[in-house]
């Protein structure tokens, strides 16, 4: 290897990287909350017997799971403004795309979790006079959530990684700052390596936690 690694040029730009980190965290937080909340609602909708609830929920899930996130982000950024009277900023477009996509995946996790609960639990709950809402809230969801945790943590990790897609619409997050540093200092090797290392350091503990959760779940079952 003939290249002389020089990370000084990257370290000089730590403030740019920090701004990127803040941006990454911001979009991560928005998409986690929106994606999980919406995913829970739509997942519940998928378990409904009523067609007018079940069908739209299923259509949503199928569409947003089977189209690439990047296409959705670009659509929200370039196409949606043609239809609505207000403008969409990069954060809005990227957050919309990633959140809706995550909601679709989360909905499936929720549906799977709920349907994996022994039907006898519904029997036990209804037999003492609980309605659907009470049975869900007190009996089914508490048990299902435990099973969904590894998959949901996985989703969170995916969302964190997807934040980099926001750079395609010039949202200020880590990769976007990496591009900036690389173009100013002509050091793409160090710049992109640094970005990769940062992501690895942040995500590695989360990934290990997911493995641990999965192992514990398998043991408990």
């Amino acid at each position: 290897m003939n290249h002389r690694w020089d990370f000084a040029s990257v370290l000089d730009n730590t403030d740019a990287l920090l701004a990127g980190a803040a941006g990454t965290l911001r979009i991560f937080a928005i998409c986690i909350v929106a994606g999980l909340a919406l995913g829970l609602v739509i997942g519940l909708g998928r378990t409904s017997q009523r067609r007018w609830i079940h069908w739209p929920a299923s259509a949503f899930v199928e569409f947003f799971r089977n189209t690439p996130v990047l296409v959705q982000i670009l659509w929200f950024y370039f196409a949606l403004p043609m239809l609505v009277p207000f403008s969409i900023n990069p954060l809005g477009a990227a957050a919309l795309g990633i959140s809706l996509n995550s909601a679709a995946f989360t909905a499936e996790i929720v549906r799977g979790g709920i349907q994996s609960i022994d039907p006898g639990q519904w029997d036990g709950a209804r037999a003492i006079g609980m309605g659907w809402g009470q049975a869900m809230r007190r009996i089914i969801l508490p048990q299902a959530l435990k099973r969904m945790t590894p998959a949901l943590t996985n989703r969170a990790i995916e969302i964190f990684k997807m934040s980099t897609l926001a750079s395609t619409v010039a949202y200020v997050e880590l990769l976007q700052q990496g591009k900036l540093i690389a173009s100013i200092n002509y050091n793409p090797i160090e710049a992109y390596t640094a970005v990769a290392v940062i992501f690895f350091i942040v995500l590695w503990p989360m990934v290990q936690a997911t493995y641990a959760l999965e192992r514990r779940l398998r043991r408990d079952e």
């Binding site: 639990q121 036990g124 209804r126 003492i128 009470q134 007190r138 048990q143």
Partner: protein, 254 residues
């Protein structure tokens, strides 16, 4: 006084007609044992009586009131009405169906807190009393995973009793238990019978049925094939099918 009455009760699953126009009267204080081969509709009958399954045809009266509204395509029931029914008609399941994420006490308290909306202190007091009645006071803080089958079923019975139902439905309460644990559960049911509780008991424990029941019903082909006192049905059945059923059950006796 009749607590529950089913008239012309029918239930089909798709093309499979399990209950065919069954009539049943349950008076206060009666203990009715329900016998029959598998597939004869015993469980389905019980599950229709507290609307865990919806009847395909026929009516059910509780406390003299016919439930549901008539409708061209079949009777229509409001969820609110059914919730009220299930508080009057309790059920104990073959597979217990305890809530694994709650302690024994938590399980018994759950209906009181969430359905009857009692304050925590009062719910806990009542639940503790019920657990004592089934002899499990010292297991109040144990989770179902740490209870034996017999203990789990006794907690399930306490959970049903906590709602103070007028009628108790037992759906093969001991069929999933190891033989040596059956006795402790039957003991509890026997005690409830002595108190004068109204109950319907689907069971294969013929000896127990003989001693506890006031009436015995034999189900076949979705209707009541034979009915009478325990002496009549279990010792001297009239119908050939009843005889055959009892014979197959008592092939090897001591």
């Amino acid at each position: 006084m009749t607590i529950l009455r089913a008239v012309g009760l029918s239930k089909s699953f798709g093309t499979n007609a399990v209950l065919r126009g069954l009539d049943l009267d349950v008076k206060q204080g009666e203990r009715i044992a329900i016998l029959g081969a598998s597939g004869s509709g015993k469980s389905t009958l019980l599950r229709c009586l507290n609307f865990m399954e919806m009847p395909t045809a026929g009516t059910i009266e509780l406390d003299g009131r016919v439930l549901g509204r008539a409708h061209p395509t079949g009777r229509v029931y409001q969820e609110r009405e059914l919730i009220a029914v299930r508080q009057r008609v309790g059920m104990v399941f073959q597979q217990f169906n305890l809530f694994p994420h709650m302690t024994a006490l938590g399980n018994v308290m759950e209906g009181l807190r969430t359905v009857k909306r009692l304050p925590k202190v009062e719910a806990m007091a009542q639940a503790t009393a019920q657990l004592a009645r089934v002899g499990l006071s010292e297991k109040a803080d144990h989770y179902p995973a740490h209870l034996s089958g017999g203990q789990k079923q006794r907690v399930a019975i306490a959970r049903a009793l906590a709602m103070e139902p007028a009628l108790l439905l037992f759906d093969e309460p001991t069929s999933a238990l190891d033989p040596e644990l059956v006795g402790e559960v039957l003991g509890v049911i026997h005690a409830l019978a002595e108190e004068g509780r109204t109950m319907l008991l689907v069971t294969h424990e013929l000896g127990f049925a003989y001693h506890v029941a006031t009436r015995v019903i034999f189900l076949a082909d979705g209707t009541i094939h034979e009915t009478g006192t325990p002496d009549e049905v279990l010792k001297n059945p009239h119908q050939e099918r009843t005889r055959a059923f009892l014979a197959s059950h008592m092939r090897y006796s001591l």
